[in-house]
């Protein structure tokens, strides 16, 4: 007999985890659409943002939400800066070079965080009220629901920016047809920098949502970012909606798996390899992801 309330609880928990993956996957897709590469440093950028927030709260005594807003702004500037200083100058050198550059950034940012803040684990309190509420006999964690809500807000804001604002339109144009956009007077490099900044800010939100339950240390994003990679690839790297949907499916799937499949429930370390196995399987059947379009590759 299935315990419906437990099932429902696990789904909500999965949606919260999936929300974090969704924000990060969205950031990955943004960068992939803008620059055509996978940003391996995305997770570490988010981790660094969390350390900035920690400093703002603990060293400068700011309130959580003020620190949150400042962190987002700093992350935005940082992301745009990384694009301008590292990615743009290398972008003519080809895809492999840029991907390796993001791997270099991963290493640098990870090392810097440990260097500046020491690798000892730190904590940021959740800004959301603890506790649960019950609907019927289903107990739902308020924090899980909040995290899910924040992820939905982020996703909606990004969609709104791209769909309804002039800047969003210019960003899409700059990513899809750089030379035509340039002829039309769009500052392509500036637009792509905004894309990177946006991705970095999204990463900061994802990190800050994940950090209260995990604790802050330089490699705390490592497994999360692998799930986000998986979601982005599953959904198709060029499809923001697909990536977000895949992230929620992945979050719920993992949550259910680790509750109802005995050997995963006993050894949590199987979660990641299983997610990864499913990913490989999907890619074998549909190499562009579940929602990606098949594009003829230029030879």
């Amino acid at each position: 007999m299935i315990d419906w309330s437990e099932l429902f609880q696990q789904i909500v928990a999965g949606l919260a985890a999936g929300g974090v993956y969704a924000i990060l996957a969205l950031a990955l897709v943004l960068i992939h659409r803008a620059t055509g590469v996978i940003n391996f440093a995305q997770g570490e950028m988010a981790m660094f943002s969390c350390y900035i927030a920690w400093s703002l709260i603990n060293t400068y005594d700011l309130t959580y939400w003020l620190a949150f807003a400042l962190t987002l702004a700093i992350s935005f500037a940082g992301g745009a800066g990384i694009y301008g200083v590292v990615i743009k100058p290398l972008s003519r050198a080809g895809e492999i070079t840029v991907v390796i550059a993001t791997i270099a950034l991963l290493v640098i940012i990870n090392g810097l965080a440990g260097w500046i803040w020491t690798p000892e684990i730190k904590f940021i309190e959740s800004p959301f009220p603890p506790g649960t509420f019950t609907v019927g006999d289903v107990v739902i964690s308020k924090q899980d629901l909040w995290v899910f809500g924040v992820s939905m807000i982020c996703v909606s804001v990004v969609f709104a920016i791209f769909r309804f604002t002039r800047t969003g339109l210019m960003m899409r144009a700059a990513a899809i047809r750089p030379s035509t956009s340039r002829l039309l007077g769009i500052r392509v490099a500036f637009m792509l920098a905004v894309g990177w900044g946006l991705a970095a800010a999204l990463g900061a939100v994802a990190g800050l949502m994940a950090v209260p339950s995990l604790g802050l240390e330089p490699s705390f994003m490592l497994t999360i970012i692998v799930y986000a990679f998986a979601a982005a690839v599953l959904g198709g790297l060029d499809s923001p909606a697909g990536a977000v949907l895949a992230a929620y499916i992945l979050g719920v799937g993992i949550s259910l798996l680790s509750t109802y499949v005995d050997f995963v429930a006993e050894s949590q370390e199987f979660k990641l390899p299983i997610a990864f196995g499913v990913l490989l399987l999907v890619l074998l059947i549909k190499p562009t992801g579940l929602f990606g379009r098949t594009v003829a590759r230029r030879v």
Partner: protein, 324 residues
């Protein structure tokens, strides 16, 4: 023809000098230094392997450290559970890692460009999770690891194997296989039109690289006398990629520079901070990408061209990943 011969002669002389230096080096070094130099040899093997995948077949692999781990655990398992002599485990470790590489490569190499990098990155992360798991403790020793001997400094054995594998790679890559691999890398469509199956060559390259990594991992296990998952974190794979980039993609003779760098540079940097080595790795990698995209080997080629001794480049390098 004359030029090719001369270039072979030059390579031969360089190789002979390197062997002579390597042969006498331990008599000037203590145990600690000898171990470091042996470790250079191990990374050398792993980087030669990685260069076959990344340099010659143009795929980014972030899983080389995981395959080193497969080799190391093979050695640990055979030596501790079955009492096999450690040196007999080395070829087995190479074969097991190579087989693992082929198995992983068959699905993964259908993926294009960034997908393979992601898949291998995920592999590196998953490997540590699985190796640490107490589920497979009978084979891997779980979170404890495997102990089977005392720390040693297998200097001559490592460098003997390294030179053998270097010559093998050289031989294989300068023949038909290497030409086909470069053809697939540089012009996949043209290669297909000429009757080559890209997937076969990419998978074979991946398998060979994994086998090289397996041998390197086995040697590392022998040097440490033990195996633990912490030695094969994703950072190791990244470090190996740094070494490969620094040596030069698609150019084997720069490999020694990369291997020396990843062993000795952190030793200097750790004086500054525990985290300094990784920051420095990253900065160096960026500097290489910006300043000399062809790595050390390309630098040597350029210097040689400047000296006017040889202007013709025998080896080609990836068309992607070039700054000029």
């Amino acid at each position: 023809m004359k030029e090719v011969l001369r270039s072979h002669l030059a390579s031969g002389i360089c190789l002979a000098i390197s062997i002579a230096v390597l042969a006498v080096l331990p008599s000037f070094m203590g145990f600690f230094e000898t171990r470091n130099m042996a470790q250079v040899g191990m990374y050398f093997i792993a980087i030669v392997g990685l260069n076959i995948v990344t340099g010659y077949s143009g795929q980014i692999s972030l899983g080389q450290g995981a395959f080193m781990g497969v080799g190391a655990y093979t050695t640990g398992y055979l030596a501790s559970q079955h009492g096999v002599g450690v040196w007999w485990t080395v070829p087995v470790a190479g074969a097991v890692a190579g087989a693992a590489g082929l198995l992983f490569g068959i699905p993964a190499l259908r993926l294009h460009g960034p997908y393979l990098a992601l898949a291998t990155f995920a592999l590196a992360v998953c490997f540590v999770e699985l190796a640490r798991s107490d589920r497979f403790a009978e084979v891997t020793g779980g979170s404890q690891g495997v102990f089977f001997g005392l720390p040693t400094a297998p200097y001559y054995q490592t460098w003997g194997i390294a030179l053998g594998l270097l010559l093998l790679a050289w031989f294989v890559l300068s023949g038909k296989f290497g030409r086909s691999l470069r053809a697939v890398r540089d012009a996949e469509l043209a290669a297909v039109s000429s009757g080559l199956n890209p997937a076969v060559f990419k998978t074979a390259a991946f398998g060979i690289a994994a086998a090289y990594a397996g041998v390197a991992g086995a040697l590392l296990a022998i040097q440490l006398g033990s195996v633990s998952a912490l030695a094969f974190l994703p950072a190791l794979s990244i470090t190996l990629l740094v070494g490969t980039a620094l040596g030069g993609f698609g150019l084997l003779f720069g490999t020694i520079v990369g291997a020396l760098f990843i062993v000795y540079a952190p030793l200097r940097a750790e004086d500054v901070s525990q985290q300094a080595p990784s920051v420095m790795y990253g900065l160096f990698l960026l500097a290489v990408l910006f300043l000399m995209p062809g790595g050390a080997a390309q630098l040597i080629l350029r210097l040689r061209a400047l000296l006017g001794k040889a202007t013709k480049q025998v080896y080609s390098r990836p068309t992607e990943g070039e700054g000029d």
